[in-house]
């Protein structure tokens, strides 16, 4: 692939990337979420989403000849196979049936002679032997007739790959984070299988976040960052640390307030979480212990799907959670939203439109409703004496909303405007106003800048800093954008595979952040001699979560 560039609606996500894979080579592509890895692979695989959004620039050469891949079918014809991150298997079918899905071998029978080939019998013995051969190529010994349901995830991954291998033409195989769901030992088997495949002359493109695997298995490594090709390396000339540094990079913009007063942070523990487990689909928290200090801005970072978003959701009772939570030493039940709200916690959800807002209601209603329900605000008594009951106080709601509209600079036609008609940034401000109406002691903010434009981003981040500085609110920000966290936080906790990987000061090196995000520390089980400043500004207890835990346990 040469000079590949792609724009989505004016947003350049790939800026001239070159890739070269020789026969029997393993090329690894590493990068943060949103670095452009998936887009690149979608281009290679001819996914419709690419062509529907205006195609791409650059050219693809296969066997030295320029080709244009217009559809996934065409990619398959050419011999490009792709193993997706999510399994595409039918659980009730056997391994063989899954491998041969939609490419079944058939034999004619009476009906099919009459009514056409759609009614031919399956040729099970032939399918079995083909599947067996594909499984054997990876050194898999499981019975090819077992149903897929109930197989360990590692085996499912092998079935996926076997399906691609079974397509006889497959010469280039793209593996999109194949090891993300595997335990370490399973991953090791997979890596061995990859090597043996490469030895058989199949080229592989390997996408992963686990840097040690990259160094271990690749013939070449490409690092992407913000759609740019940062480096092309061979595994001999690099190390995990070097890769981590390249992957994260410095992309700090001037956000937050660099010059203003330091945060009113104290050494008093305001919120303590111990062994938190949150059952949030896609963002599981497995065993996380964390302390939040009074008056600080704490960042929660990490890669998507590793559980950082689950923390706030679990604390607020939005998803089932287990563990111990205490505010200023007083234990608080988990999974009880009302209790959490009344104890001075508030939450700005990452799912703004799904959870954060009543889209069909006015700004004033959105801002006031939670406080009305949990704190009896905005209510007034009506009715004759003895028969009094409270109804909502529209005037107070209006005044309150007007104050926030001015204070947070919400661009709208007035407090009665329906929030669906606001822009993303202004909707986000409404969410924050809603949380502030609860007058929280701790404000959880998840992905505050997702889906809003650059200008609004800065305003939202500034707002969080101002809240902290002027009102002394302790803020816990969860964000996928590390640069953002580094610009406003006092400490940044990195969550990896549902556990606390470590806590860093915002000015720690890219290399350290990259290492923590890729989970290198717990992978290597070398928590004892981690980078010396790991616990630099975070005091005691920060590293607890990651001790003696490796993902394969």
């Amino acid at each position: 692939m040469r000079g590949i560039a792609k724009e989505y609606f004016g947003n350049r996500v790939l800026k001239g990337v070159n890739l070269r894979v020789g026969p029997g080579e393993i090329l690894s592509i590493v990068g943060e979420n949103g670095a452009g890895k998936s887009t690149l692979m979608n281009i290679l695989f001819g996914m419709p989403v690419i062509h529907n959004t205006g195609g791409f620039e650059g050219e693809i050469l296969f066997d030295g000849a320029p080709i244009s891949i217009r559809s996934p079918q065409q990619a398959v014809e050419l011999g490009i196979g792709m193993v997706h991150q999510e399994f595409m298997l039918l659980p009730g079918f056997s391994i063989t049936e899954n491998i041969k899905l939609n490419r079944e071998l058939t034999r004619p029978n009476l009906l099919s002679r009459l009514c056409g080939p759609k009614l031919e019998h399956l040729d099970m013995p032939a399918m079995r032997s083909d599947s067996r051969a594909s499984l054997d190529r990876m050194g898999m010994s499981i019975d090819e007739m077992l149903p897929v349901a109930g197989l360990p995830v590692g085996h499912m991954q092998f079935v996926e790959i076997a399906r691609e291998l079974d397509k006889k033409k497959t010469r280039l195989l793209v593996l999109d984070e194949p090891t993300a769901v595997l335990t370490e030992s399973e991953a090791q088997v997979l890596l061995n299988a990859m090597r043996s495949l490469a030895a058989q002359g199949i080229s592989l493109i390997f996408i992963t976040h686990r840097l040690d695997e990259v160094v271990q298995v690749s013939d070449g490594i490409t690092v992407l960052r913000d759609g740019e090709q940062v480096a092309d390396l061979s595994p001999r000339e690099t190390s995990v640390g070097h890769l981590a540094e390249l992957m994260v990079g410095r992309k700090l913009e001037a956000v937050g307030c660099d010059g203003c007063a330091p945060s009113p942070r104290t050494d008093q523990v305001l919120l303590r979480l111990e062994h938190l487990e949150v059952d949030m689909p896609g963002e599981m928290v497995k065993d996380l212990s964390l302390e939040v200090f009074q008056g600080e801005i704490l960042g929660l970072g990490g890669l998507a799907g590793h559980g950082k978003v689950g923390v706030a959701n679990g604390v607020m009772g939005m998803y089932p959670a287990r563990g111990i939570m205490a505010i200023e030493g007083t234990p608080l039940p988990l999974g009880h939203t009302l209790e959490a709200l009344r104890s001075g916690l508030a939450f700005v959800s990452e799912d703004r439109r799904g959870v954060g807002l009543l889209l069909e209601e006015s700004i004033e209603m959105n801002v006031a409703a939670p406080a009305m329900q949990s704190q009896e605000k905005f209510l007034r008594k009506v009715g004759p004496r003895g028969f009094q009951f409270s109804i909502m106080d529209r005037r107070a709601m209006r005044r309150h909303a007007e104050r926030f509209i001015e204070e947070l600079d919400i661009r709208c036609t007035g407090p009665e405007q329906i929030v669906r008609r606001l822009s993303g940034g202004n909707q986000q401000k409404v969410c924050i106003a809603k949380a502030l109406t609860l007058e929280p002691r701790i404000l959880f903010v998840s992905e505050p800048t997702r889906g809003i434009d650059v200008g609004a981003k800065k305003i939202v981040l500034d707002l969080l800093v101002r809240l902290n500085r002027e009102h002394g609110v302790t803020v816990v920000v969860t964000s996928s954008e590390l640069a953002e966290l580094r610009s406003i936080c006092d400490r940044i906790a990195i969550v990896c595979e549902g556990r606390l990987e470590g806590i860093l000061p915002p000015d720690a090196s890219d290399r350290d952040f990259g290492l923590l995000m890729a989970g290198e520390k717990s992978h290597r089980g070398r928590d004892a001699e981690g980078p010396s400043h790991l616990s630099g500004s975070c005091g005691q207890g920060s590293g607890q979560g990651s001790k003696e835990e490796s993902p394969c346990s």
Binding site: F347, S349, L358, E376
Partner: protein
């Protein structure tokens, strides 16, 4: 136009845009219905039908159906969609009315006794139905429709075995079981309609009926503004938002069902006193459909309904019904009015169901 065309920083809208927006806000179906009503009225005038009497009828039917339509608000607001299981509440109201006859009550006593019994009965059945409804989230509309049908069928057995003795209700030739239609003439027929009623020309204004309906509108409007009412609205418009505000979603859905069925129970008594008869057996079967159609004509969506929607919708729906009947009889043939009414009401329901917000909370 020129002035409006100037770009303003907040996104300037031309007059045309604003007109379009106003039309959209009012709702195209409502405009069509309004146009249809206009045509009907014009025809009625040209046919020299007794307009005073017609308007009097509209007012009466508006008042007598109003509370049944009000019953749609709590269920829509709490996110379970229009209450297709309304026959449940209606049945409770009928049970209460027959009880008042069995106890040989008359006049206002009979009426208020029936209302007094109907409300708790409706509330209890609403609670049970609410619990049931929480187990079929996302399919409330279909399940509710068939639940209503089932209740009506079940009550058919009840009416045949209930041990009432009042000669006004049991079959005149003896045996057990109640008649299909029970006359209320000596009981509480028109007690509200006749209360403080007066005439303007040939038009009779059923003051008591309208006052009673108005009182329920006011009470419901107050309830919707109470803390519980707001919580119900939150649950209905975004259950995840309600959860994040610490609300128990299932609880407020049950409250919505309770209020809705209790209103349905009262509504049928008001309806019966105006109508002059209680109809048993299969009569409540399609009660829900007219109520649903009315509130939707009024501009309610499947997730949002206000008292105004009920007032506008009930008026439009009943007005069409009242005016179309004599017009159709004169112009085309007998009984066409009924056909038109069914087309209009089911057409409106269909239109509302095909709109996007039909997808109620299916998580």
């Amino acid at each position: 136009m020129l002035l409006n065309a100037l770009p303003s920083p907040e996104g300037g809208e031309s007059f045309g845009d604003r007109l379009g927006a106003a039309v959209r806000d009012f709702g195209i179906p409502r405009i069509i219905i309004l146009g249809f009503l206009g045509v009907l009225l014009a025809t009625a005038v040209s046919l020299r039908l007794p307009m005073g009497q017609l308007f009097g009828n509209i007012l009466t039917r508006f008042g007598m159906n109003g509370i049944l339509v009000l019953a749609m608000i709590p269920s829509i607001q709490s996110g379970t969609g229009p209450n297709f299981a309304l026959p449940l509440g209606v049945t409770c109201g009928i049970v209460a009315s027959t009880l008042s006859i069995e106890l040989d009550l008359r006049g206002f006593t009979a009426f208020f006794f029936a209302v007094g019994v109907a409300i708790p009965l409706g509330a209890i059945s609403g609670y049970l139905y609410g619990v049931f409804q929480n187990k079929v989230k996302g399919q409330e509309l279909t399940v509710g429709t068939y639940f209503g049908f089932s209740v009506v069928s079940l009550m058919c057995i009840f009416w045949t075995v209930v041990p009432y003795k009042s000669p006004e209700m049991i079959w005149p030739y003896g045996g057990s079981g109640l008649r299909v239609t029970i006359t209320l003439t000596n009981r509480f027929a028109q007690v509200l309609d006749g209360f403080m009623s007066f005439k303007i020309g040939t038009m009779t204004v059923p003051t008591g009926l309208l006052l009673f309906f108005g009182m329920f509108c006011a009470l419901l409007a107050l309830f919707l503004r109470s803390k519980t009412g707001v919580a119900m609205m939150m649950v209905g418009s975004n259950p995840r938002y309600a959860e994040s505000a610490g609300l128990n979603v299932d609880k407020y859905r049950i409250i919505g069902s309770v209020v809705s069925q209790a209103l349905g129970a009262v509504g049928i008594i008001v309806y019966a006193q105006s109508f002059g008869f209680i109809q048993l057996y299969l009569a409540p079967l399609f009660m829900a459909f007219f109520a649903v159609a009315s509130v939707l004509i009024g501009g309610a969506s499947l997730r949002r309904a206000t008292v105004w929607h009920v007032l506008i919708g009930t008026f439009l729906f009943q007005a069409i019904l009242v005016v179309s009947m004599p017009v159709a009889n004169k112009v085309v043939a007998d009984n066409l009015a009924e056909v038109i009414r069914i087309i209009v009401s089911n057409g409106i329901i269909l239109y509302a169901l095909t709109r996007k917000e039909a997808g109620v909370d299916v998580r």
